[in-house]
């Protein structure tokens, strides 16, 4: 499948198909990470992180691919792994060689900060009650109208759903804020 078709799949929300295709790049990444002292598990983590970044970026307006997707993924993984290595061993000198052009790299640094924040938010969601998470999923991912959400969640009315959604979001927000203040190391 060519890169444009892949990007098209991502833009049209067919992530499952695109990811299945993208996962074929995994062996190259595993090789890369293993050659740089990582384990298979590290490789899987880094690769999945890179997939998330790729998908988020390609959904942005005006995203232009400057290299082949496989090359892009490879570079992002190299970048992520360098970053991870420095995190594990702060004394390690910064190895700048990622094969990315500087503009992309600066952008990736910003991405990475955002990634850290999203990871915290994901942690918060994970701690949330299942029912809350389900409600938010119906609301934001399935983009269902309030009435439909209420029906699915067995609420008496759309208003109740709205209130519940607010409660869940507020709880998540407070917890995230708390996490941010306690984990400034991130």
């Amino acid at each position: 499948m060519d890169d444009h078709r892949l990007l098209e799949l991502i833009r049209t929300g067919n992530n499952d198909l695109a990811l299945r295709e993208l996962y074929r790049n995994f062996p190259a990444i595993r090789k890369l990470i293993r050659s740089k002292g990582g384990t298979g598990k590290d490789a899987e983590d880094v690769f999945q992180e890179a997939l998330l970044i790729l998908i988020r970026n390609s959904q942005k307006h005006g995203f232009q691919l400057t290299a082949r997707l496989s090359t892009y993924l490879y570079s992002v993984c190299r970048f992520l792994w360098n970053d991870e290595l420095r995190r594990r061993r702060p004394t390690l000198p910064y190895s700048a060689e990622t094969g990315l052009d500087p503009a992309d790299e600066t952008q990736l640094h910003t991405e990475l900060e955002k990634e850290q924040r999203i990871r915290l938010a994901e942690r918060v969601l994970d701690e949330l009650k299942d029912r809350c998470r389900e409600l938010l999923l119906l609301f934001y991912c399935d983009k269902l109208p309030l009435k439909e959400v209420a029906l699915r969640m067995n609420y008496s009315s759309g208003n109740v759903a709205k209130n519940q959604k607010y409660k869940c979001l507020e709880a998540a927000k407070l917890r995230l804020k708390e996490l941010h203040s306690t984990s400034k190391t991130y």
Binding site: N15, D16, L19, R20, L22, Y23, R24, F26, E44, Q48, L51, L52, I55, R56, R117, I118, L120, A121, E122, V124, L125, K129, D130, R131, R133, E134, L136, L137, Y140, C141, R152, M153, N154, K162, N163, Y166, L169, E170, A172, K173, L176, K177, H180
Partner: protein, 601 residues
Amino acid sequence: MRPELELIEEIDKYLNDELTAAGRAGFETRLAAEPVLREDLRLLGDIRTAIHRIPLRHDIQTARRHYHRARYLTRWGGAAFGAIVIAAITILSINHAHAPAANQSAAANATLAAGATTHPAAEIYTIDLTKDTTLTTAHGAILGIPRGTFDAGGATSFRLQVKEAYTITEMIRNGLTTRSNGQPLSSGGMIDIEPVDSGTVRILKPVKVSIPADHVEANMRLYKGQPDSGGKINWINPIPLADTSRLSDLAIGRTLFMRNCAACHAVRGEVTGPALAYIPQRRERSWLNKYIRDNQRLMASGDCYSYSLYLSYNKTPMPLYPNLTDKDIDRLLYYIQNQSRLIDSNKVPDYHRTFDSCVLYHKLYDSLNERRQALITANGNRTDNVRLDAAGKPITDTAIALVNSEPVTIEEHPVNYYKFTVESFGWYNVDALLKDLSGVEDGELWVHVPKPYPGEVNVFFIIPGRKVIVEGGLFVRSQTEFCFFTDDGKIPLPAGEQAYVFATGEYKGKPVFAIKGFLLSRSQTIDLQPRSMTMQQITDTVSRLDLNRLSVRVGKTPNFAEIRAIETSLKAIARFRPKDCDCNCGGESWGNFGRDSVGVK
């Protein structure tokens, strides 16, 4: 509406880009002024991104699973392998207010109670309590319900509701999550069994449940589902699966594979040796046994396929494993088969198919070609050079004794399609000329015929005035020049007389011809360029020249039509010939191999 709620609504709208231009401008002004609002916006933005990540992470995990294992196996073995069932779950007791005391002992048994949330995909089955029932559900789970398993308060039948979820999508759809006390689980499948009229049915004996799995994981455990107050299910109290015999076989198979095979083989893809995916289905078990234990003996016994493998993989034979027992091979193959399910069977190249095509091709080719050669042999030589005396009887050449030189060797080409007849009455040849000697001096004559024709044509030299005709032989050293008397080009020649050289033959199935006239000098090289001509053109060209009753005729050979037909068939079967496959087993190399490999001198 509470102000916080309102605020969140507004941030939502802002992020959804649903505000009016004015509302947006106002919001942005406030953003610039209020750091708290900025932080809230960022936090909620992150949370929303994280929410979108949930299905995305599912998708990634699915892709990962898909990558590491093909999901379903249907193609190789057809229906027989369509639903691989593991005997997985021992018992499901129905957690129920009327559960009898006997059930307490089975506390570790899984209970899969439905949550309060909507579960759209329930199947209802009516169970006849007077019989043993084996129920195969819509998704392929098998429930063994012996008579007396349920008590329905005296009724002879009751209705059973089954819900199944084997994929992440089905799990999400059913509102099932895969977590155990907060820890995520990798699910091999979930099933929920419940009587429709739960008030009256009691369970008396264990129900045996087998769920379909495309892949057996060695560390799968059975969890008990415990609904929480919100109706969601928490999976607790893991116990090992009831039937783990296949799992330990799998583990042994894996060890055997890693220890013996993995250095040269992968299940997916070629390494040093071929990919082994689906090999248990692709080959006869008896063949596999022989090949695994002693592939060299198998080869020496004349098994063409193993020889072909040997040729295809760099003539590197596989090591011998004479000590593997049948049970070991069982386990090994079980492991390979289990790993194979991770792979799309359509993408596994089957070497044996290629081999079969190759063998078929050669068989057909050989039989056709044999027939073709027989026909060609039956056609005889391409050129009949007939010299007749006045009475019409063939003249036999007088033998010539040559000193210090080799006479020309005339090559006779077998004829495929066209036969040339050179006919002359009362002609002499060079030895007559030599004897005569009047006006004849030692000279030199070469005829140059460009490649690729030299091997395909016969070349003649004639002096009509002297009634001389002689056929030339190819000069061995140049391979493009013909000479006519001795193989150094020497020939006695009457200088100044008219002479001709001509070439007849066939090339790529068509008659070719060339003729050239010239005045003889002591030494000359004549160029002939054969061209494709029709039979009529050749006859016409010759008859136009004054050749003193010499005629050259060309006609189709008796076997023309049949040879053509065979060649059409040969072309037609070429499509059976696979690329990259060597199945040449009948040949000499095969015999040699058989001897070398087993050390027989």
